[in-house]
Symmetry: D2
Subunit: 294 residues, 4 copies
């Protein structure tokens, strides 16, 4: 189950209690619900999973609970990013030891490493594990851009097989597919470019709104990639875009995704502070825009 | 010693061994050297101190070692930023318990909190301590900007007394001084705007290059703020700017600061990975540009 | 011929002599060559046509020469942008009087009008003509962005029927098509997003590289829009992308397009100063990358 | 009078009738008022003078009327920018022939010339005149940045003696002064950085708000540059900053400057379309903020 990832992979939320502690029971049920909805993989501890706000023991426990709940039905990729290379290596080895099928790894936050330093960082992780690595290019949060030239070099590493593209620059998908498509597979990482990305060769979609509308995401993948029915895919996509654009555009992605789960009948609690629940106006707009899907 | 901070405060490097472990002996000697050079305060665990790459026990030990070495000769402000509010609160309380004279706090990294969420974040920290807080506005790393309007609201909190301005936008210094100068004091946080900031009312300068050239930084402060000899201050500043501009402009600030300490005869070892030592070409340029100060 | 524009519309270069005067004979022959290559329309005096560098008499003469050469075989849309509304109105009325089938209109340059001012600007032009207007959103040159909300309001004007989208932000194509598709038709205006744009509902492509490779552009349109053979379209597109990315990425679009015409056997002379011919290294790279198409 | 420009130079508005035709009588009176207020020079046809929206005959007539009204009392620098080099050369030669004391020249708009092309552009103008040229670096409108390296090369041209710095990046002032201060003199071109610029070595200030508050601008220059009374200069500056920040920050600089002239009792009419008069809310805010100066 560890090769040939494709399809819809939710960057799963980390459910929390009103006191912002992790709610492992809800996490297990929610992971099960996602798998039952047809998603093709699960990613705990991505950005939407608030990995950056969890302690080391919490991170280990979230991985264990997710793997247990998924029980091998779909692959589980674990987000193992951190501020230091040694810390990312340790999280990655731990996730592999726990049974993860792959890793999701953005650039380390805050330190703004150069291209050469990023290469050494990923080389250190690559040397330490033997499960597939999905790069995660998200300069909006990390402050550094993995350019196509750098992606080409990273794709030479043994385990680097995928990239979640979250720059928002559509030309990256076609450029990586065109230049390095034999070595690395693109996953869409910008919800409002999902169909475009599939049509340019992306094999999958890692997103946060999948937590809210998993079946619709799966159906879009089926129409666009498997059945290649572009008109039907576009119609479905245009119906989803108001939701995707609202979530992407408000500067409150994680907050709205968690609130959206509540609206759709799967309450997952608030985000952990510094993030907070959206205000009443946001909730009202969200509820209105999700009405067609309830 | 906990009120009325002003002057030159190095964001002190964290010395490391060749294996990237913290070198506490060198740290103690280096802190002493800085104090002997005349700096007016010391800040461990700022950005240049690589706080984001240290473990919790390391952070506690760095604070202890710094306080011990400084021994009350100048105030010590501790960087206590983190990814979650609860974590930043814990680090802040710990620093206060250890004897810190103040705190340096950027926005939490990676999560891109809104203005309202930042206000709640800092309120939580403010409620948990009773030593002065220096805000640290560095959108280049955190991805979020504390606008002057937000700064005005944060300055209402009991312990928020200072702001390190690191946007690179000079108008922020005058705007904050003009609008909120009775409640909050600006420290320059962009080395290539230091003299301008002093002339607009900044009371101090928190920087990384101070590690390399502490006496020159102190002299600039004396000329500009204490003696108000602008022509002499400008002449000194224009002599320092080639160094400051090189360090700020290369995308390798921490790396070059640490290398610059070596060039000036105070080796502090490499940064912790993902950052690495600068390459030979960078070292050569740095050595050349520091020659007038050796 | 004035309604239902679709397909490939070159933003035709303005051929010049070595002294940078307009070469009307070459212009006539070049326009004929483009039409014979199968393009679906011709646009003189767009950005690639260097309208901003031509005198008023030259602009009138270029329109006359183009209309004469095209002789009604395909529609001719004329770029009539200017620095003042009164000037743009005058150019637009003149183009209509000369027989143009439509107008291409970016935001006025340099003055950075607000959304409300842009609405009044286009209303004035709309009131003065009765041929279709293609908006041209190119904030990279004009400094102002026609947001989707503004486009929706502009699309209420009688003659505003098309928009050339040149922001480089792919989400604009789907958002405009989704929200205002019944009132305004998108043309791709960013060469490296052409196929994506067609798949999201763009009816055409206005570009500069069409001058260099007209048949390939027409074939891409045929495959993607008419025959809906996505795999074949993607294969052709990926073959074209190295050329398109080189032209778009070098900060010398007009210069490289004109040089590319020479490489392909249709010399059109240099651009008018301030632009100059590309240097030898650029020409060599261009020649190499165009080799498969010679 | 053609050498050693220093002090406050208004980028003079072009007064217009309600029908947006140039009001030459008001222009003559207004220029006289400015000179009587103590400004050290006058610049017709800058950005605030809406040069980009005037016809060639209008531009010639504005220069003639300004020179006639100023009558040699202070130097007159004429804005002669255009879209093509040949056009800028012609305007520059014409201005010199009319009696201008110098030229103000931004990068040509819309075409985004490269650094090498800008050098050739300014070389062509430099060869065609023998009065001082003030470069005008305003990437917010022209889309191209004259970097310090390029400024250093441009300063080698015979007539290039000044630069109006309008990037908003304060470090440019000190970098140009420090590296090329023997060849080129900086004028502040960003109102909210005026005092900082003077303190870093700027010899003057070219602005639009000078039209509204000429005496206060002149007094700031006197305090900061001539009397070197920094505390008094800062107090005056902090009093002006609310006005300067409002004008700079609203995306309606020319519109608010013209409205501000009206508020201060010197009506100059509306801007030419595409710009329009500010709305009632803007006028109210402007009136309120200008009250202390009435």
């Amino acid at each position: 189950m560890t090769t040939g990832f494709e399809g819809v992979f939710p960057a799963m939320v980390t459910p929390m209690t009103p006191d912002q502690d992790i709610d492992y029971d809800t996490l297990a049920r929610f992971a099960d619900t996602l798998v039952e909805s047809g998603v093709h993989g699960i990613i705990p501890l991505g950005s939407t999973g608030e990995y950056y706000a969890l302690s080391a023991p919490e991170r280990e426990a979230v991985v264990a609970a997710t793997l247990d709940a998924v029980a091998g039905r779909v692959p589980v990729l674990v987000g193992t990013n951190a501020g230091a290379t040694r810390e990312a290596v340790a999280y990655s080895q731990q996730a592999q030891a726990q049974g993860a099928d792959g890793l999701l790894l953005a650039a380390p936050y805050y330190s703004l490493p150069t291209a050469g330093e990023l290469l050494e960082h990923f080389r250190a992780i690559d040397d330490a594990v033997d499960i597939p690595i999905m790069l995660y290019n998200y300069p909006g949060r990390t402050g550094v851009d993995m350019t196509p030239d750098l992606v080409g070099r990273l794709a030479e590493l043994d385990n680097v097989k995928y990239i979640k593209e979250s720059t928002g620059d559509m030309t990256r998908v076609s450029e990586i597919a065109r230049r390095f498509g034999d070595k690395i597979t693109v996953f869409c990482g910008c919800d409002t470019l999902a169909l475009e990305s599939f049509l340019m060769g992306a094999a999958g979609w890692v997103g946060g709104v999948v937590n809210v509308l998993p079946k619709q995401h799966v159906e879009l993948f089926d129409l666009a990639v498997r059945r290649k029915d572009i008109p039907a895919a576009r119609e479905l996509y245009f119906g989803l875009l108001p939701v995707l654009a609202l979530m992407e555009g408000a500067g409150k992605y994680t907050q709205l995704v968690k609130a959206g789960c509540d609206v759709m009948g799967h309450p997952v609690g608030p985000p952990r502070q510094p993030l907070g629940p959206p205000d009443a106006e946001d909730i009202a707009a969200l509820t209105e825009i999700l009405r067609p899907f309830c």
